[in-house]
Amino acid sequence: MNADLSYALQITLIGMCLVFGAIVLLWGIMAALVRFLTPPTPALPEADEVPKAITEIELKQRAAAAAVSYALSHQRQQEAHLFPLPPTAFVSAWQAVMRSTQLRQRGPR
């Protein structure tokens, strides 16, 4: 086994240990950051049962909603808009007219 290969093996061993070590450290830091820097929430639903009442289905729904909103936000980011436009303006003006027509039609004449 030549010297370089021996070095390479050493580097691999030490390197992977360091990467895992650094990542675990990062995990710890993140957990600490979130714990100590998150401002105490108003703590409204002090009733301990409520969190348990969240069924698995609800959790999945929440995950789905978050995923969709994240995906959408990310997609929007990719389009690299240079500034955010108020979304309402983009309701086409023609649509507005149709809405207005519907508005008038409410109730009998």
Partner: protein, 376 residues
């Protein structure tokens, strides 16, 4: 000037064209084709392909002296300015809250770096000296700026094939990863659903995070500081919320200009003379090996975590830990959806993916430190 001289002068372009040039022109054309027709990372492959074409038209002088590519090379590649500017922009586009709200996802960002080291070993076995082997291994970081940064420091002579491999394979992620995912995970594993009950992340945490990471990584791995700090600077510009102007500049002007110039200049290093040789082929194959191994290691680690956690972690997430942000994360989410149209793991995948981004930079820095320490 007699007629003979004139003909020589006017045909100098054609008469200096070699078969090597023609092959590289075709390679440039293929890169552009992949960029345009397949939309594989076009913002990088298109400039790289165009730069490759220009580098292989004889006697343009663009890569020498005061030529455009020589100027751009010394302005932003030799000193690593362009990769660092790109990282400011990437940082300003990354949202770390999926990771911060599920910190254990960070673990998945470590295993996905194994390909770096395994490739280093294999390249050493194949006879590459240590500095070159390490530069080749860092293709396995699956992160363009990191690869370029490390290769420029350790083996600038191999910059062209390494950068090309890094960016080309990154753009081929949707082709490379899925078969491996299917091979290494069972259908049941891919269908594992995950609970999503994230801790809400306050603005204070989002602002402190990039500063703390810069400090800790900077002090522990000084060689990774330039990369990690620019990534975190971009993220701080974004999350601080008080420097909208600078955040926009990072996400638009700075990253766009740096990307265009970086791509062109990397492409311009692919001249037939230095690119067309057995070494390049070996590097390209080793790079592919690194990509595959990263994914495999990530998936196996994912399976381990799955078992350890009592099947509450979907092992596919391991494949998102390789970096290749944000493609790998999205791909994993899509794979899970394919198996079960109701299985939403995007937030977990993005957490693992951003962890992989951090892990890649740290692995690159560790490698740089170890090799520099050994050689220096």
């Amino acid at each position: 000037m007699n007629t003979q001289e004139l003909v020589i002068e006017l045909s100098k372009g054609i008469s200096n064209l070699t078969i090597g040039h023609i092959i590289m022109l075709a390679v440039g054309g293929i890169l552009i084709y992949l960029a345009v027709a397949k939309e594989y990372e076009p913002v990088l492959l298109l400039p790289i392909g165009f730069g490759c074409i220009l580098a292989n038209i004889p006697l343009t002088g663009m890569t020498e002296g005061q030529g455009l590519f020589a100027v751009l090379h010394s302005a932003g590649i030799g000193n690593e300015l362009f990769p660092l500017l790109i990282f400011i922009g990437v940082g300003a586009m990354i949202d770390f809250s999926p990771l911060l709200s599920q910190p254990r996802m960070a673990l998945l960002g470590a295993a996905g770096q194994f390909g770096i080291f395994a490739t280093l070993i294999l390249a050493t076995v194949l006879g590459f000296p240590l500095n070159e082997a390490a530069s080749i291994g860092v293709i396995g970081a699956i992160d363009g700026p990191t690869s370029i940064f490390v290769a420029t420091k350790l083996a600038p002579n191999l910059l062209a094939p390494i950068a090309v491999a890094a960016y080309s394979y990154m753009s081929l992620i949707p082709i490379i990863q899925p078969p491996l995912m299917r091979l290494l995970t069972t259908r049941e594993e891919r269908r594992i659903r995950m609970v999503y009950a994230p801790t809400p992340i306050s603005r204070r945490v989002l602002i402190a995070f990039p500063i703390i990471v810069t400090l800790i990584v900077g002090i522990l791995v000084p060689d990774a500081t330039p990369l990690i700090s620019m990534l975190m600077l971009g993220n701080l510009l974004r999350d601080s919320g008080v420097v909208e102007r600078l955040s926009k500049a990072a996400q638009n002007e700075i990253i766009n200009i740096a990307t265009l110039f970086l791509g062109l200049t990397i492409g311009s290093t692919m001249s037939a003379g230095s690119f067309l040789n057995v070494e390049t082929v070996a590097i390209l194959l080793l790079g592919l090996f690194a990509f595959v191994l990263d994914t495999v290691a990530g998936l196996i680690f994912g399976k381990i975590l799955c078992v350890v956690s009592g099947r509450t972690i979907n092992p596919l997430l391991g494949a998102a830990g390789i970096s290749a942000f944000p493609m790998a994360g999205r791909l994993v989410a899509r794979m899970a959806l394919d198996e079960d149209f109701d299985n939403m793991v995007l937030m977990h995948a993005m957490g693992a993916n951003t962890a992989g981004q951090l892990g890649s930079v740290m692995a690159g820095g560790v490698l740089l430190a170890l090799v520099t320490g050994l050689l220096g």
